[in-house]
Amino acid sequence: MGVIIKYRLKCFLKNKMLLFWTLCFPIILSTIFNFVLKDLQNLVPLETISVAVVEGDNKTLTSLVKEFSNPKSENYILDASFVDEDKAHQLLDDNKVSSILYVDQKARVVANKYNYDTTILKSIINSYSRVYSQVEYLVTKDPALFQTLVINDLFENDAQIEQLKSESSGKDMNMIYFYNIIAMVCLYGMLWGVRICSDAQATQSKRAARINISPLPKLKMLLIDYGISFILIVSEILIAFAYLYFVLNISFGDTFPLMALVVLACSLTSLSLGTLIATTQMKFEAKVGIITSATVLLNFLAGMMSSGIPFLIKEYLPVLTYINPADLIVRSFSTMYYSVNLDRVYLNIAILTGMGIIFLILSYLRIRRVSYASI
């Protein structure tokens, strides 16, 4: 038994290129991600809005704009440049300002395109139009108000909108890109599964033929191979983890035992899924092609290329979030990162383990009775 384990381990470790790449891949990709995503904001951040103001005869609106562009004011949001019309257009064409505001009786905004800056500016100026409309109505209805109405009061907001503490507040959504890398390493474990199965089916390689005519029971051989591959995948994932955690300072939450469980469960699933794919009658190359394409697709659905995709999937095809191993892994890590409620993580571990066991049983059932008239 010990001899078999030793030689099978040697066999696996001899595939240096695969070992090297499955190890190097997360390190290289996460380093690049770290560079690309370090300062990346998925949401449009709240910044001062640069606007060219062409002054007109509207004093109330001018004072409103000045209030919003006064750095000492609590309403400060505008970076207003008071210029003439030609200069304003020049600034807009050079993209130095996001829009031009004409401050006359019929105020208007000119912009190159619609964006948050123009929408916010429009909303500020609309408050002037609203107050103007209210004064007009109230004074018409009750002319006595003309003496007492203080226009500034009509701008004053008396409501209180209290901000509640959100679990996800201050958490960096870009972490899901790094969690996707871990998921991808796990899924590449399928390649090891294909290796195991190829060595168990005599028609797949010369080595497999030799193994098949040996007196060793197939189940024993499979279990040894499976155990070794499992240890190899887990080791690779742990190295990737160590790099992400200690070198790149990527946070995975504080629940280390749970993290370890997720890693073990997803290693089991990917290995058994690889074994199951390998039991089909396709060529080795086709199996490798399927696995690499499937890995990319599953990771894409888990948000590797666009963080909005997992949410769309959850909305339109929720069942996929329970069967996509990449999504289960990414969601587990992200839940551990931002939430204190870890129910979803336990569920995901259970699903991953269940899938792993089912794939394993199916693989064994498919290859156990295969015998050969001639090898």
Binding site: I28, F35, D117, A159, S166, V288, G289, M305
Partner: protein, 381 residues
């Protein structure tokens, strides 16, 4: 053309894998465009995604909800999904309307609402502005017209809000994000072409076949030319499939004036992809590693080059690094074409220079591959 035919036979042998790679990458690019990804353009005021928890459910609270529905994209969801949605930034604002909202509002007292927001986002500021503006407008009428019914007040508020400031937008023409479809091929072409070429190069590089080729009367250069020609034809086939998919699915968007130039750019981009596939096929023998490397290189180049994240969001240092990848110049050309207003030679000059850089990358990849192959050939026999 024996070698040419052989390469296609080998590619056909691996057609299942290639088709899967291609379908998966095209499917991904379609989803990528449909979701808008990052860098989407808008044709109207931006509507932030919000969720409202109305605990009051009165005429007054419904009026506020209906106002916000006009200004924002109100998403319905289960309570337990709120935190996840805020984390994934699918919501920027959650508004909680309290049970006593109607009585407080109508009595002229201070209304107390609650919110959860995506910190420091323009979207949450905007929504807050809308809520405050609505409440201020309503409370003003409650204050100055105490005898008025809420129905009357609501009508007046609606009338006030209908008088919006006039907005003129210079680039108001509707443009779909079709450049994202092309940009995504910066990733998918690398994967598909390596998957196709890698397999045949893997088969042709086995020791027995190499030995047979060396003793054959066919000149080495002839053999290499036929091989490269076959790979080029395969790449063109992938290109045709990609463009056909584009026209079938995005027919209207593909009619834009810049699309032919983007197609030309995509055609030029085939060259560095071919060069890279040839280089990987020459250096890497293991098929598993070839496939893995195709994805890793594809992903790295795509992230650095701006296929997934717009180049405008990348830091200067990163742009400097990215400029050493062909994908960066490919995406840069596409983005410039998308923003171009006049398509004359003067404006198109930089685009052609970007394409020239892509060709240079291809030349470098082929050069390294040929040198490496020449160096290795001495070890074959």
């Amino acid at each position: 053309m024996q070698v040419f035919k052989l390469v296609f036979k080998l590619i056909k042998e691996n057609s299942v894998s290639i088709m899967i790679t291609l379908i998966v990458t095209v499917l991904i690019s379609l989803l990528f465009v449909k979701t808008g990804a990052m860098g989407a353009t808008f044709n109207e005021d931006i509507k932030a995604s919000i969720h409202i928890v109305d605990k009051n459910n009165s005429e007054q609270s419904k009026d506020l909800v209906s106002y916000l529905k006009e200004k924002c994209e109100v998403i319905d969801m289960e309570e337990d999904l709120i935190e996840e949605s805020l984390f994934y930034q699918q919501l920027v604002y959650v508004l909680y309307i309290p049970e006593d909202y109607d009585t407080t509002l109508m009595s002229g007292e201070r209304v107390h609402l609650q919110k959860k927001v995506c910190a420091n986002s323009a979207g949450s500021y905007l929504v807050n502005q809308y809520v405050e503006e609505y409440l201020t407008a309503t409370q003003n009428y409650v204050k100055y017209m105490p005898s008025a019914s809420f129905k009357e007040i609501s009508k007046l508020v609606k009338n006030d809000f209908s008088k919006e400031v006039k907005m003129e937008v210079k680039q108001s023409e509707s443009k779909d994000n079709i450049h994202l479809y092309f940009n995504f091929f910066g990733y998918s072409f690398v994967c598909s072409i390596i998957a196709g070429i890698g397999y045949s190069m893997h088969k042709l590089s086995t020791r027995e076949i190499k030995r047979r080729n060396i003793i054959s009367p066919m000149k080495n250069i002839n053999l290499n030319i036929q091989q490269i020609l076959a790979y080029a034809c395969f790449a063109v086939l992938i290109f045709v499939v990609a463009i056909t998919f584009g026209y079938v699915i995005f027919y209207d968007s593909m009619q834009a004036v810049f699309v032919p130039y983007m197609i030309l750019n995509l055609g030029v981009y085939l060259l560095p992809c071919l060069g890279l596939a040839y280089l990987i096929g020459t250096i890497i023998r293991s098929l598993e590693v070839q496939n893995g490397m195709a994805n890793v290189l594809g992903l790295i180049m795509a992230f650095l080059g701006g296929s997934f994240v717009p180049q405008s969001l990348l830091s200067d240092a990163l742009i400097q690094i990215a400029s050493f990848t062909p994908n960066y110049w490919f995406v840069k050309a596409n983005d410039a074409l998308y923003d171009m207003k006049t398509f004359d030679f003067e404006n198109l000059k930089p685009i052609f220079s970007y394409m020239g850089i892509e060709v240079l990358f291809a030349a470098v990849f082929f050069f390294i591959a040929i040198i490496y192959a020449k160096f290795k050939r001495s070890n074959v026999v």
